[in-house]
């Protein structure tokens, strides 16, 4: 994009080079030197120094650009200097910003109607602010959830999914109970405890304590599911432990069991991947609006 074409002096050339943003290139196009200026006949008796001073005064007397500020003119791609006639010691510079120079859309006077119409293509500041607040709020929620998941584990809580209705109506099938390990001697009648099935040590049972008896360093428990008609009797060493049910989260177990199934694991991997892919495709292909975003995409 050519943003200006004008002759500049050596000093201005240095200034321009300093101002060129990183990543942009400037092409210098030497132009043939104009015919030598018509020598101004010095006034009778005037010295050569006097002639130089007159030329400087002439340059300084040139009109200064009026209108928008320098920054605004730069934004709109306008030159911020008024062309001056070429001098013999000057080269014409054609700063061609070949790459990375965003197309800045209409100049400031042209933007007026757009701004009045709500600046189409540019998100309002309030929207961006709300988006930022939402983004950081979600981040906070995610951090909080991570903490809520991690802290109970550090405190010795263990989640267990209930697979039967033996504790209905207090605990339902599909609930997740959170149990904390306590000493067998701390258990009380009426507590809901988790213990190993006396008939099959691989199975964990969650039932209510109906009777406790301590004898010979052994704690004898009698437990029963609220919905069962029979009791079970089992023992634990007095220095042993049982799981005390602290919390009961309704129906969460169905989601956990599904999540640990093959289909659930597949969905937990595929769904986020699809969402991320769709988001990226949208980001790439979404119609660009506004000169700034269009330039960024090219």
């Amino acid at each position: 994009m050519v943003s200006g074409e004008r002759p500049v002096s050596s000093v201005e050339l240095l200034e321009l080079l300093v101002e060129v943003p990183e990543g942009e290139t400037v092409r210098f196009v030497p132009i043939p030197a104009p015919p030598p200026p018509v020598p101004v006949a010095p006034a009778p008796g005037a010295s050569p120094e006097h002639a130089d001073r007159a030329a400087t005064a002439w340059r300084e007397a040139q009109p200064v650009a009026a209108g928008p500020s320098r920054r605004r003119r730069r934004r709109s791609g306008q030159s911020d200097r008024v062309p001056v006639p070429a001098q013999p010691d000057q080269v014409q510079v054609q700063p061609e910003r070949v790459q990375a120079q965003p197309e800045r859309g209409p100049s400031e006077p042209e933007r007026g109607p757009q701004r009045a119409a709500g600046r189409p293509g540019r998100r309002p500041k309030r929207f961006r602010r709300l988006r930022g607040i939402l983004f950081w709020s979600v981040r906070g929620v995610l951090v909080g959830i991570a903490g809520a998941i991690a802290v109970p584990g550090l405190l010795g809580f263990h989640p267990l999914t209930v697979l039967s209705g033996s504790m209905e109506p207090a605990i339902h099938t599909g609930d997740v109970v959170v149990a904390q390990e306590i000493s067998a001697l701390e258990a009380r009648i009426g507590d809901v405890v988790v213990f190993r099935d006396p008939d099959d040590q691989r199975i964990l049972i969650t039932h209510r304590v109906r009777a406790i008896r301590v004898a010979s360093g052994v704690v004898h428990f009698t437990t029963k599911g609220d919905a069962n008609n029979t009791v079970e009797r089992w023992t634990v060493p007095a220095d042993g432990s049982v799981g005390l049910v602290r919390f009961d989260v309704r129906r969460l177990g169905f989601a956990l069991v599904w999540g640990s199934s093959r289909a659930g694991r597949l969905m937990l991997l595929v769904l986020p991947a699809l969402l991320i892919g769709a988001h990226e495709l949208l980001r790439i292909w979404r119609p660009q609006s506004g000169g700034r975003r269009r330039a960024r995409a090219t």
Partner: protein
């Protein structure tokens, strides 16, 4: 009024998110907490049906009372009873408890719609209820409620009573 910077705003939003989760956790701890035992256990009562050939009755338990204590909420359930014979029947209900300990303590009420079939102690139901007439092919739903009245004395703790309801049928008018 002092304006906030973007960084302050983001930090506040981040803190808000964390506080939101903390608030939900506090709520969940209260809502999902399982109360600890108080060293006592009330009575567990289950009512089970005993089907007969004349009546169509779903089998199994239909009333479960867990940790029943004096003055605690009632255990209740209902069961449909259908006369599957060709003639009208007079039906009476009898209780067959698995233990006698709760017989004088536990109160039982059986009703068929607006009509009370029985109201009294479990001991009385062991003898039998009033009769309920069922026309041929007709069905009624029996509502059963059981509770320990506030005046009930000790002797209910740790008791597990499975009460079987037996339906005695006679031809109507016999």
């Amino acid at each position: 009024m002092k304006s906030t910077t973007g960084a302050e705003r983001n930090a506040a939003a981040f803190a808000f998110g964390i506080l939101l989760v903390v608030g939900m956790v506090v709520w969940a701890v209260n809502a999902w907490a399982v109360p600890r035992g108080d060293g006592k256990v009330g009575a567990d009562v289950t009512f089970i049906t005993d089907p007969t050939g004349e009546l169509a009755i779903p089998g199994g338990a239909f009333v479960r009372g867990t940790d029943l204590r004096p003055g605690s909420p009632r255990a209740e359930g209902s069961i449909p009873v259908r006369n599957q014979t060709g003639g009208a029947l007079d039906v009476t209900v009898r209780a067959l408890p698995s233990i006698p300990d709760l017989d004088p303590l536990l109160m039982v009420e059986i009703s068929a719609g607006d009509r009370a079939v029985y109201r009294g102690s479990l001991a009385g139901l062991v003898v039998g209820s009033k009769s309920l007439r069922l026309a041929a092919g007709h069905a009624r739903t029996l509502d059963v409620r059981a509770w320990l009245p506030a005046s009930a004395g000790d002797g209910y703790q740790h008791r597990i009573d499975d009460v079987t309801l037996e339906f005695d049928v006679q031809p109507a008018g016999f």
